[in-house]
């Protein structure tokens, strides 16, 4: 079980009560207060303890079926901690993870080892389980996943139109430029040129580019003020900051006519009109309560007050002990700074202001989570696993389980409470499971003495590559192709990064055979073993598009051009399991 969080706690309980023989639990996280509303195996006293060790201990107290529990505190992607020999011991893998990268990694491992994998996830009231039987059903990578939204630099820097643009500006740009480590102080010419090239790739507006570069230089001045060790009391940091970002910079933007041809113009903030009220507000005792009022949208004056307080607190921290401050949603000074500056910018651009509560969610990438959805999803996960174990004695267990398992979605919408869909076959275009892969076990002797040339010859012999091949080590390091022969005489261990736990991607340059991916492992007792694989002929790209590709995701809302919003029902082809039935009385809808 990878992940001992919301789904993990529920799932572990279900597995223990289903009398599984042995369960290994992996998690690298520690327990925090906001976990306690759903992760029922943790208590207040467990805060800051390791999740994996704590769940195992908590379950041990109830473990009257004597299930063997083995917790591991560590990163599942660490191949030293969790080598392939460790993975091979399991008969089933459960993903109860919260991030894409680790999900992808476990999916890959399960493909190499042909292990059944249960993928699961929840967001608020929505959840999903997907059983994966490698090469028989779709793997995690068969359906492209939505990547986090990113915005063009120009939208963030010059022409925001939504609250999220202002929040991104405040957090990624303003805050990072002034307080964080990453922004460079004295920029070299090369850096500047680099920046310019990046901006030029996004906009052709010369004036806009010049303006952005100039703004950057000025931020260095601000940074110098906060960095200087002068007493914060005498500092004019807040005044300089506010004047620059809410007045000077906006006026300068306004002078670039091309930006406002078809956009709403911003109105620079007249700081002087707030000075008196701000002073009065600061004198009031109740003013400090504003920051605690997280769900109310603050007025512009209140936002200015919060910005002033946060700026001075951050300045103080830099002047005394810290050398830089990174944004952290749980660090209230940083959050207040971002909330207030984002809101004032929003006001200037005529964009809706947001509460601190809402901005925290956006800036901190917070995903809502509750016990109920996790319980439902863990219940499904465990059910589908039992289904697989019904077939395990069969020689053809993956195919049998394939036809009797479902992908399941849950949601809060009354007509879509539970949707189950038959599994579908792997996508022919899947970047992960559409080509051959296997584990290459080196004897220690070969790993130390074999040259790359020797290895390439063996690969040719084993898999029947006629023509030239290229070899990529890890994610993107090309170590051999017909133009790159420098490494041929090197021993494998002399090639930087060549070690157990890495992968090799072998591509046929003549496009006759499919790609081959080999996972490097060691075989301490014996000789080097190549995986037995029969490479297929390469599928040409133009042999017809994969039909599934344009099919919308389940429940996706498509907006037609006349704004009639149409909610799609389940795509018919893949939703075989759902069925119609007649009604007892009058009304009926499928959940």
């Amino acid at each position: 079980m990878v992940g001992a969080g919301g789904i993990g706690c529920e799932l572990l309980k279900n597995l223990v009560l289903s009398h599984v023989g042995e369960i290994h639990i992996v998690d690298l996280d520690s327990i925090t207060l906001s976990n306690l509303n759903r992760q029922f195996l943790f208590r207040q006293k467990d805060i800051d303890k390791s999740k994996s060790l704590t769940v195992a201990e908590a379950v041990e107290a109830f473990n009257y079926l004597n299930v063997k529990l083995v917790p591991h505190h560590g990163n599942i992607m660490d191949s030293d901690l969790f080598p392939v020999s460790w993975w091979s011991e399991f008969s089933y893998v459960f993903n109860a993870l919260d991030n894409l990268e680790a999900r992808r990694y476990v999916n890959q491992i399960c493909l190499y080892l042909k292990k059944p994998l249960m993928e699961s996830g929840t967001t608020g009231y929505d959840g999903q389980v997907q059983p994966i039987y490698p090469y028989v059903s779709e793997c995690f990578d068969c359906q492209p996943k939505a990547t986090p939204k990113s915005f063009p630099v120009c939208t963030i820097r010059s022409t925001p139109s939504q609250p999220v643009h202002c929040i991104t500006w405040a957090k990624e740009f303003l805050f990072a430029q002034i307080f964080d480590e990453t922004s460079t102080n004295d920029q070299s010419e090369a850096d500047r040129a680099n920046q310019r090239r990046k901006l030029e790739s996004e906009t052709e507006d010369k004036a806009e580019i010049e303006n952005m570069l100039r703004e950057n230089d000025e931020f260095n001045e601000l940074r110098n003020i906060v960095k200087s060790k002068t007493s914060t009391k005498d500092s004019n940091f807040f005044e300089v900051l506010v004047n620059k970002i809410f007045s000077t910079d906006i006026e300068r933007l306004l002078r670039i006519d091309s930006l406002w041809k078809s956009r709403r113009k911003p109105t620079p903030l007249r700081i002087e009109s707030y000075t008196k009220a701000l002073k009065e507000l600061s004198a009031e005792r109740s003013a400090k309560d504003i920051v605690v009022d997280e769900t109310r949208v603050w007025s512009v004056l209140e936002n200015l007050f919060v910005l002033q307080a946060a700026s001075s607190a951050l300045h103080e921290r830099l002047a005394s002990s810290e050398s830089f401050i990174s944004f952290d949603k749980d660090d209230d000074d940083t959050l207040n700074f971002v909330v207030a500056s984002a809101n004032i910018r929003a006001f200037i651009f005529g964009i809706e202001l947001k509460s601190k509560f809402d901005i925290k969610q956006i800036a901190g990438n917070i995903i809502p989570a509750i016990a109920t959805t996790n319980a439902i999803i863990a219940g499904f996960s465990c059910l589908a696993y039992l289904n697989y174990f019904n077939q395990i004695t069969s020689s053809d267990s993956f195919h049998k389980a394939f036809s009797s398992s479902s992908t399941i979605f849950t949601s809060i919408r009354p007509n879509k409470y539970i949707t189950s869909a038959a599994l579908i076959e792997p996508s022919k275009k899947c970047p992960s499971c559409s080509h051959a892969r296997g584990i290459l076990r080196f004897s220690p002797e070969d790993l130390n003495n074999m040259t790359l040339e020797g290895l390439i010859q063996l690969i040719r012999d084993h898999y029947g590559f006629d023509d030239d091949i290229s070899v990529i080590l890890g994610k993107s390091k090309l170590i051999y192709d017909y133009d790159l022969e420098d490494n041929l005489q090197k021993k494998l261990t002399e090639i930087n990064g060549f070690k157990a736990g890495e992968t090799l991607l072998i591509q046929d340059e003549s496009d006759a055979l499919e790609n081959l991916e080999l996972y490097i492992d060691t075989n301490t007792s014996g000789k080097t073993l190549f995986p037995t694989l029969k490479l297929k002929e390469k599928q040409m790209d133009n042999d017809g598009e994969n039909k599934d590709e344009d099919m919308p995701e389940q429940g996706e809302v498509i907006s037609l051009d006349d704004d009639e919003v149409v909610e799609l029902d389940e795509p018919v082809e893949t939703r075989k399991r759902g069925k119609e039935s007649l009604d007892g009385s009058s009304k009926k809808a499928k959940l």
């Binding site: 509303n37 078809s262 709403r264 917070i366 059910l383 007892g584």
Partner: protein, 519 residues
């Protein structure tokens, strides 16, 4: 709310906000029978911080109870099951108070009915004697306390909500909709629109007229050309849309006219009354609702709304304004206009609420500004339904007995089988064994008064066999799943947000299928 609480509940506050959390913390849930599924339900309610819970069960912990229930262990054997369970569950969240009542249900039912009034929701799980179930349902139906009946048998689960009526204001309807009053702009909006002479604007300003104004002006033009008629039918609306586009100087360059065209259908459609409002108006004046001091606040609001509509011939304006291409000045002016009108309407609506409260013998002190505000904001998204006190009806029986549908209605088969399974155990003091199939068939016929001449559908008998073969009410994954679903529904009722089950839910864990039925 304290800082720690805010942080602890942060991830759920993002779903139901402080208002939902406050309702949740003010709720007292009662669980009848300390079963595995009951423990799961309570766990899922205690973690998010339900106010109080009470477990009613007079039985002692047996070996069988421990199997499938995570919150009981060997040390509890022979002890009171309700106390043992409450002890473990209380550890989950120190904010929650839990109580155990080790008294037989039938004895409680003989006692004072006021005992039940402290509960906001009652959950009955698995087996209860038929006459006790009937007595309890009757009692709670009259007292307007919602009851959930949840049962698990083998790989099947059923859940039913018994509630006289369910009304929700904060439905969280995902429809992106704004009431813009294009058809009937109020005076200030009309005046603002009139103050703009769009033909004399230069090109840049013309490209920044907010689309609300474009639509109002286009409609005036349309009415002039069409004898004062408003384009309501789909085809007319499409024609109207083309008129909007034709008013642009250059549609390629003018985003505001594109937005106006895009918003046409919805802006015209939603200027009308939602049909549910008319239904509610009829109901509030009927015999069904007695406007006395016990009437739910929802009906006070409906009555007040009716009086509001009679006086002003429109609904209170929710006041939200979508983002649109505009000059900052025009957009800020519009935001102000909509905001002021919404506040004004809310004030007038509150006056009507006070009026209705007084007329129905309630105190003016009951006025809650937040809930009035929320009602006005959600006026287009209200939800109301009436429930059923019955466990089943005749049309459901005839549906399962239809010969042609042996496969089509398996979840109804499941529902009736599970109901019968628990009745069987109640009557014969033990659950059926695999050898009891014929006995079970006979019991089923008798229970639902089916003539012996008509054969039971094959699909139904398959379900009988499945349930009898397992003869377990606590497979843990089914308990976990049904516990999740049930607690989710209780959360909706407790937070008074989102739309709850209406009113029967059946889960087939063999095929991972579920269906919803309305009795």
């Amino acid at each position: 709310m304290s800082f720690d609480k805010k942080l602890k509940y942060d991830r759920q506050l993002r779903l139901w906000a402080n208002t939902g959390q406050t309702s949740l913390e003010g709720s007292h849930i009662c669980l009848v029978n300390a079963t595995a599924v009951g423990s799961e339900i309570l766990k899922n309610l205690i973690l998010p911080g339900i106010g109080e819970y009470t477990i009613i069960d007079d039985k002692r912990v047996t070996e069988e109870d421990i199997f499938g229930n995570f919150f009981l262990d060997e040390d509890d054997l022979g002890n009171s099951i309700s106390s043992s369970l409450a002890k473990q569950l209380n550890e989950l969240n120190t904010d929650v108070k839990g109580y155990a009542v080790s008294t037989e249900l039938s004895e409680l039912l003989r006692g004072p009915a006021e005992f039940w009034d402290k509960f906001n929701t009652i959950v009955i799980t698995n087996q209860v004697a038929s006459h006790d179930l009937d007595a309890l349902l009757d009692l709670l139906w009259e007292r307007r306390i919602p009851v959930f009946l949840v049962r698990t048998a083998g790989f099947y689960g059923t859940l039913q909500l018994f509630a006289k009526e369910v009304n929700v204001v904060e439905t969280h309807d995902p429809a992106m909709f704004h009431d813009l009053r294009i058809i009937n702009p109020w005076n200030e909006l009309q005046e603002y629109s009139d103050s703009m002479d769009i033909d004399t604007l230069d090109d840049e300003m013309h490209a920044h007229i907010p689309y609300v104004i474009i639509l109002i002006k286009t409609l005036e033009k349309w009415k002039k050309e069409n004898g004062g008629k408003i384009p309501l039918e789909y085809s007319k609306r499409s024609e109207f849309k083309r008129l909007v586009e034709s008013m642009s100087r250059n549609l390629e360059m003018e985003d505001n006219f594109k937005e106006a065209a895009k918003a046409t259908h919805r802006a015209l459609q939603f200027s009308q009354f939602p049909p549910l409002i008319n239904d509610l108006f009829q109901k509030v004046d009927s015999q069904e609702i007695s406007m006395d001091s016990n009437v739910p606040i929802f009906w006070i609001y409906v009555k007040a709304l009716k009086q509001f509509v009679e006086k002003y011939n429109e609904l209170p304006l929710p006041g939200s304004l979508p983002d649109m291409t505009s000059t900052s000045f025009a957009y800020v002016t519009l935001t102000k206009l909509y905001g002021e009108k919404a506040r004004d309407d809310e004030r007038k609506f509150k006056d009507e609420v006070i009026h209705v409260l007084k007329a129905s013998g309630n105190s003016e002190a009951d006025v809650n500004h937040n809930s009035i505000h929320s009602f006005c904001k959600n006026i287009h998204f209200l939800y109301a339904t009436t429930g059923s006190r019955k466990l089943y009806n005749n049309s459901m029986i005839s549906a399962i007995m239809k010969e042609s549908n042996s496969l089509e209605c398996s979840t109804l088969f499941i529902y009736f089988t599970v109901m019968c399974y628990f009745s069987f155990a109640d009557s014969l003091q033990s659950f059926p064994n695999p050898g009891d199939l014929e006995k079970f068939k006979a019991f089923f016929r008798n229970m639902f008064s089916l003539p012996s001449s008509k054969p039971l559908p094959e699909g139904l008998i398959k379900i009988f066999k499945e349930v009898i073969a397992h003869s377990s009410q606590s497979y843990h994954n089914i308990s976990s799943f049904m516990g999740g679903v049930t607690s989710q529904e209780i959360l909706k009722v407790s937070t008074a947000q989102y739309t709850p089950l209406d009113n029967l839910y059946v889960f087939d864990g063999v095929h991972s299928i579920s269906e919803k039925w309305k009795i």
